[in-house]
Amino acid sequence: MQFSISSSPHQSGQQSVTRVMGLVLLALVPGTLAMFWYFGWGPIINLGIATATAVAAEAAVLHLRGRAIGVTLIDLSAVVTAWLLALALPPLLPWWQTAMGSVFAIVVVKQLFGGIGHNPFNPAMAGYVLLLVSFPVTMTRWLPPDVVSGSALSLADSLHIIFSGTPPLGQTWDAISSATPLDQMRTELSQNRMIGEIRQSPLWGDFGGRGWEWIGNWYLLGGLFLIWRRVIGWRIPASMLAGLVLIAGLFWAIDPDTHPFPAFHLFSGGAILGAFFIATDPVSASTTPRGQLIYGALIGLLVFVIRTWGGYPDAVAFAVLLMNMAAPTIDHYTQPRIFGQRGRGDA
């Protein structure tokens, strides 16, 4: 799809959906490679399953709706959705759960609302939440990064686990799986242990979990690339991360024994990925400049609130979906002034 603007005095931009989505995929490559480095083949296999099912589901629905299949598939938006979903999923999730999340994201959250450009919610995050709410056991079964465990699962083992849903022969889930840093922090805090004690565990690095913090850095690199290429604006990521750091910093300053250092919140879980790649979804996010600042900051705030007092260890998906719901209202109250007019542009 080309954004062709008719009538002569306008210059039409060279931006197309395919190009934008292609750049997003390119920006995800460093983070994905980092996932591969730390978690082995699991994320790559998930990526394959999610992409294949998302593209197939998109083609099937487009066919049912009587739309041109090729034109829409080539815009790569289904691939981006699948990729974001796959990066959020635990590395050894059973294949059918990955496929179900990806089909739900495309069919129910995207196409039933009218396809690309019409979805009120971020499809990848809605798919993730469907899985997290429906399958809490498998969705919280992460691997330890291999800098901690010292050995990575082979390709054959990963395939076996994902497609059979059972741990490799002679091993148990407890032996190969591990909690995420956020999960661990939460469990230990609930047992009244203090941050200083919790961080003695080998799972912890300089800021967040070992391995995890580096994945966050590589996502950050991709995100900065997107801002440089003007694919996304700076407002949503900056305000989201600032909001998260501010509230986390406030609580840390009040009681550093039971609230982790703000950098922990940034570099554990999905905060960086969410800030640059998920909250910035141009369809479901706020669109006015002031609105984007509010939208991002509230996501950051909600992430902290849900991580600290909510029922689930990570919160980016819930925070983004909640703010997706609020985005139209935020846009309504933050209309920019029309040039040459006094006051708000209500027209």
């Binding site: 129910v108 469907l130 709410v133 429906s134 399958f135 809490p136």
Partner: protein, 227 residues
């Protein structure tokens, strides 16, 4: 005359189905439809109240002044709901405990006051009776289908808890896909109710569309289905 009744029944069951077309009484519909039996129980209780209230409202329709009709309707409905609640508490205590607050809340079900106002207060007793029955069964069917599909997807069973309604003999009715079916919890949680209801409405609209293209001549079945 029989044509008139035929239309009342068809409207209640399908063309003006209160859950799928009028979208009335959604709060109990969404909250209680997590298993087939719960849906059936609440559906039958609602139907009972609906029939009795329709008949009573139709009986007094010529004596109640229009200014006070709504409070009178609400009093009548509340009395019947209290009766149904006490009867359920006595004879279906298990089901009564499962359905909980939603039995007293039948009073506020807009389907019932809606039929009292829109139909029973303008029609003779036999017609009001048939209308109450048809509307009630229509809503019950929607509740049962939604409850059954949510139960099936969410926990892989059907007729779970049937003994609450049909006595100990019904314990064996429970049917399950199998022990290793990993329930998709979302279907049982509130979002599953909204998604499921949306799917049911879409399904009904598809069926209506198919029917109307098959027989474009008969106008009877092609009333607009949007509420």
């Amino acid at each position: 005359m029989t044509d008139g009744y035929r239309k009342i029944v068809l409207d209640g069951l399908w063309h003006n189905n209160q859950a799928l077309v009028a979208l009335l009484g959604l709060c109990p519909l969404l909250a209680v439809s997590n298993t087939l039996i719960n849906g059936l129980g609440l559906g039958l209780a609602t139907t009972l109240v609906l029939v009795m209230s329709n008949v009573s409202v139709s009986m007094i329709r010529n004596w109640v002044r229009p200014e006070i009709r709504l409070p009178v309707f609400v009093l009548i409905i509340a009395s019947f709901v209290t009766m149904v609640e006490l009867v359920m508490n006595a004879y279906f205590h298990g089901l009564y405990k499962v359905l909980g607050i939603f039995i007293p809340l039948i009073v506020t079900n807009c389907t019932i006051i809606g039929r009292a106002e829109a139909f029973a207060s303008r029609n003779p007793i036999p017609r009001a009776l048939v209308d109450g029955l048809a509307i009630g069964v229509g809503s019950t069917l929607a509740l049962v289908v939604l409850g059954g599909s949510r139960e099936l997807i969410g926990q892989g069973t059907l007729f779970d808890g049937a003994h609450l309604m049909f006595g100990e003999i019904a314990r064996g009715w429970r049917w399950g896909i199998g022990e290793d079916y990993p329930g998709i919890l979302l279907a049982i949680l509130p979002p599953g109710a909204f998604i499921g209801l949306g799917m049911l409405i879409a399904l009904k609209n598809i069926i209506d569309k198919r029917l109307s293209t098959r027989q474009p001549a008969s106008a009877a079945g092609t009333e607009p289905v949007t509420a």
